[in-house]
């Protein structure tokens, strides 16, 4: 499954993912991260949005590789509601690997306040939920070939650099 969606991540999915994980009796903790485009002030101008692009095939392969390393499996779950999703995922469905992992990254123009990134993990205990969410976030930033062109109110632009 690709992590990429066109435009910003639809935050309505957050409630859906929380509800999905609520149905899993093995899960004792959820941790969610939502990235947001910030109106950074540069000498050249103020950021109004970021245009994201990626080498999609390599980025998805990188996600698969770091999930195997960090989480122990590379199953990224769909976040879009489907007719059978909740019914199929009740209780301790052995077909779903634990920890449960949801990742989405937006592509294209995302304005200030929009969300380019959503990560959610469902784990047995809270320490693991915090740790895995953070490790997935850092691995995504450092290992997936994704780029952001910051558009400025001066009509110029600046290429995003991860701090």
């Amino acid at each position: 499954m690709s992590i990429f969606v066109d435009g910003g991540v639809d935050i309505a999915m957050v409630a859906h993912v929380v509800a999905e994980l609520n149905q899993d009796s093995r899960v004792g903790g959820q941790n969610l991260f939502v990235g947001q485009v910030r109106a950074d002030k540069h000498p050249e101008g103020v950021v109004t949005g970021i245009e994201f692009s990626a080498h999609r095939e390599m980025a998805d392969a990188a996600v698969s590789a770091f999930l195997k390393r960090i989480v122990g499996h590379d199953h990224v779950e769909p976040v879009e509601p489907s007719v059978d999703s909740l019914a199929d995922k009740r209780a301790d469905n052995p077909g779903l690997a634990l920890p449960r992992v949801f990742i989405r990254h937006g592509l294209g123009l995302i304005p200030v306040g929009g969300s380019p990134l959503f990560i959610a993990v469902g784990t047995e205990r809270r320490d693991e939920a915090f740790r895995l969410c953070r490790e997935i976030l850092e691995a995504l930033k450092s290992e997936a070939p994704i780029y952001g062109k910051e558009l400025l109110d001066s009509e110029g632009h600046k290429w995003k650099v991860n701090q």
Binding site: A54, H105, K141, A144, Y147, K149, W159, K160, V161, N162
Partner: protein, 78 residues
């Protein structure tokens, strides 16, 4: 012909996100980079990694063929 893809700021430096070049194999990744720099001199001062057919390659790796070459500067997702 080999498909060459440029990402992030390299798209601006080269003026394109992809092009097809006639590369003579075998050659090392370092030699491939030299060929790309001849095509686009602005690349000479840039820091970037090269992936061949979606796999990152070291400078001294010898390539016998390549369908796609990706020039990847520092990542900036999230």
């Amino acid at each position: 012909m080999t498909r060459i893809r440029y990402f992030g700021p390299l798209m601006e430096l080269t003026g394109t996100d992809e092009e097809h070049l006639n590369i003579t194999f075998p050659l090392t990744v370092g030699e491939l980079r030299g060929a790309l720099e001849q095509q686009h001199p602005a690349l000479a001062t840039e820091s970037f990694r090269i992936a061949v057919d979606a796999v990152m390659r070291d400078t001294d790796t010898t390539l016998s063929a390549a369908g796609e070459v990706a020039c990847l500067p520092a990542f900036a997702g999230g």
